[in-house]
């Protein structure tokens, strides 16, 4: 909490929708112009004031991870899964319309400059959160292997993006029966044997988190996980979004919005 004054500002602003298109049966891709609010780091998020879809009235704002930021152009992108009232409302937005947002918020991923090769493993909407690591790792000269998991191949997002940045991309899906934790563990052990892992980065699956925690302990490799929890304020004020963490053997609460959403992988309790 003492770092309050050191945090870069979060901006409360009306963003202008530039594009909002379906990418597949479940996900949509939103691009907004939001000026200074676009200065975000991978793993940070925004609170979006979702418009009301017909017959529904989402009251609280919805947290969405940064999917891509272009601070120079004042542009931010989100990749969201249409699930409930809030995201159904987001899906109604047309170019030219406004979207109230607050951000960037929270503490994001940290890249260790000494790392040579990292592994990003995500599933479902977690793939959106990991997306910005593709460019960030490349800019830091760190090689990256992305293991992208989804129910079906057409629901895998960010594949091309990681590939464009020179990442090695492995997709696993439920329909191909290769997304289970034991198969992923075999993949990871293979990468570890090739010495292609100085850090784990993950989001979107408790089962995959457990696999990585086991390996992180066994091989003494650091890891970071981006976690979700239902939120209200987004600024660490209301304590709605706490989760349990194991810090040195003691179970303590931390706020996902303020202390995270990115946490030390070994402290996280799935």
């Amino acid at each position: 909490m003492t770092d309050t004054l050191a945090r870069p500002p979060a901006f409360e602003t009306q963003a202008a929708v530039l594009a909002n298109d379906r990418v597949n049966g479940e996900y949509a891709h939103l691009v907004v112009a939001c000026g200074q609010a676009a200065a975000a780091q991978p793993g940070q998020f925004y609170q979006l004031a979702c418009p009301a879809p017909p017959g529904e009235a989402p009251f609280l704002r919805r947290p969405m991870s940064l999917y891509r930021a272009d601070p120079a152009a004042g542009r931010v992108e989100f990749l969201y899964k249409v699930t409930g009232a809030g995201t159904r409302g987001l899906a109604t937005l047309r170019p030219g319309e406004q979207l109230g947002l607050l951000g960037p918020l929270g503490t994001g991923f940290r890249l260790d400059p000494a790392a040579r090769h990292i592994i990003a493993i995500g599933r479902g909407a977690g793939l959106a959160t990991l997306g910005p690591l593709a460019e960030a790792a490349r800019a830091a000269g760190i090689a990256i292997t992305a293991i992208l998991s989804a129910r079906r191949p057409e629901l895998v997002v960010s594949q091309a993006r990681f590939a464009e940045q020179g990442a090695r991309v492995i997709t696993v899906t439920d329909s191909q029966a290769n997304s289970g934790p034991s198969h992923v563990e075999r993949l990871l052990r293979g990468l570890l044997a090739e010495r292609r892992c100085d850090g784990f980065y993950t989001c979107g699956s408790a089962r995959l988190l457990r696999v990585q925690q086991t390996l992180a302990r066994e091989f003494s490799i650091p890891g970071q996980v981006a976690l979700e929890q239902q939120m209200a304020c987004g600024l660490g004020m209301c304590f709605c979004c706490v989760r349990d963490f194991n810090v040195g053997g003691t179970i303590i609460h931390k706020r996902v919005c303020w202390d995270g959403p990115v946490f030390d992988m070994l402290e996280a309790l799935p």
Binding site: M1, T2, T4, L5, R7, P9, A10, F11, E12, A49, A57, P58, F59, L60, R61, G100, L102, L105, Q229, Q230, M231, A232, C233, G234, L235, G236, M237, C238, F239, C240, V242, H253, W258
Partner: protein, 315 residues
């Protein structure tokens, strides 16, 4: 330029807009300039360390939200050593909200946190989550009198007493607090409520019951503030569902001297500064020199007794 300053007991605030306890922390400084606020109000602190309630702690409902946070508190030492020094970095007076399970506990805590840098104590004798079934001191005039008497003896700081809207006798509770030496009242906390997911048959809060806040409660709490304002001479701070400057004006007209803003900040981090600017413009447009001219300025038209008789049938 309107004079926005207000007096609450012995304390003068630069403007009448401050956060509601539990909906504010230093994190808001990431989004707005805290020096613009009329006061800073801490989350309720308790002497014992508390972890808080099970998840989910929040659920949204039509026009508002339910919360059952359960007052997670890091205790007095943390407040004294970390929170208090941190807040010295901002200029608005610091109001510290406290709670305890007993009247003695309240008094001890009030004495412990009567420290330099604390401008007033807000006694949360109304938090509906911590007592069984949501019962609290502020439900009854007698239990209110006991706790306020002990608090009054324990501290020389201005003492604000936060009422619960869950009582049927709020004016009597207000009078009891006044009689025992409170300097101001805060009207009010959240309304005890619940929600059930009709698909899973499960309660939507981990704690089952929670507090309703937001626009949904405004007409009810406004009525209660009006009833209190007619019953006591103490300054009253209005709190419940205020989203805009006009909502704040309604509370002032009903008799409030100042307002607290909670849920609105979750929907727009700039809600408080916007309400301050809105009050300034509102007064300007009406040629009011001071915002305090609005307090209790509700206009009662002359009415014949019969016209109102249906409102409260003769008993």
């Amino acid at each position: 330029m309107t004079d926005l300053s207000v007096r609450i007991g012995g304390l003068t605030l630069p403007n009448p807009v401050m956060p509601a306890s539990g909906t504010f922390a230093e994190g808001l400084a990431q989004a707005i300039d805290l020096n613009r606020l009329g006061a800073l109000v801490t989350k309720t602190i308790t002497r014992e360390l508390r972890a808080g309630n099970p998840l989910p702690r929040v659920a949204e409902v039509a026009g508002g939200m339910l919360n059952a946070i359960g007052i997670p508190s890091k205790g007095v030492a943390y407040f004294r050593d970390v929170t208090l020094p941190l807040y010295r970095g901002w200029s608005p007076p610091l109001v510290v909200s406290i709670s305890a399970p007993t009247a003695e506990g309240f008094a001890e805590l009030a004495a412990e946190i009567s420290l330099p840098g604390v401008a007033a104590i807000e006694a949360n004798i109304s938090c509906p989550n911590i007592e069984e079934d949501g019962r609290a001191f502020a439900m009854k005039p007698a239990s209110t009198a006991i706790v306020v008497r002990q608090l009054r003896a324990a501290t020389a700081l201005p003492l604000w007493v936060k009422l619960t809207p869950n009582t049927g006798e709020i004016a009597e509770v207000a009078k009891a607090a006044e009689a025992e030496g409170a300097d101001a009242l805060v009207c009010a906390n959240t309304i005890l409520a619940m929600a059930i997911d009709p698909h899973s048959f499960k309660p939507r809060l981990g704690n089952l019951l929670g507090g309703l806040s937001g626009p949904a409660i405004k007409p009810i709490v406004l009525r209660q503030l009006y009833q209190c304002a007619r019953a006591v001479r103490l300054p009253i701070i209005g709190c419940g569902g205020i989203m805009t400057a006009l909502d704040a004006v309604e509370y002032l007209l009903a008799g409030a001297v100042a307002v607290q803003i909670g849920t609105a900040t979750f929907l727009d981090s700039a809600a408080m500064p916007n309400i301050i600017d809105g009050l300034d413009r509102f007064c300007d447009a009406r040629g009011l020199a001071s915002v305090s001219e609005l307090t209790g300025a509700i206009r009662h038209e002359e009415t014949d007794e019969e016209d109102l008789s249906w409102l409260s049938p003769p008993t």
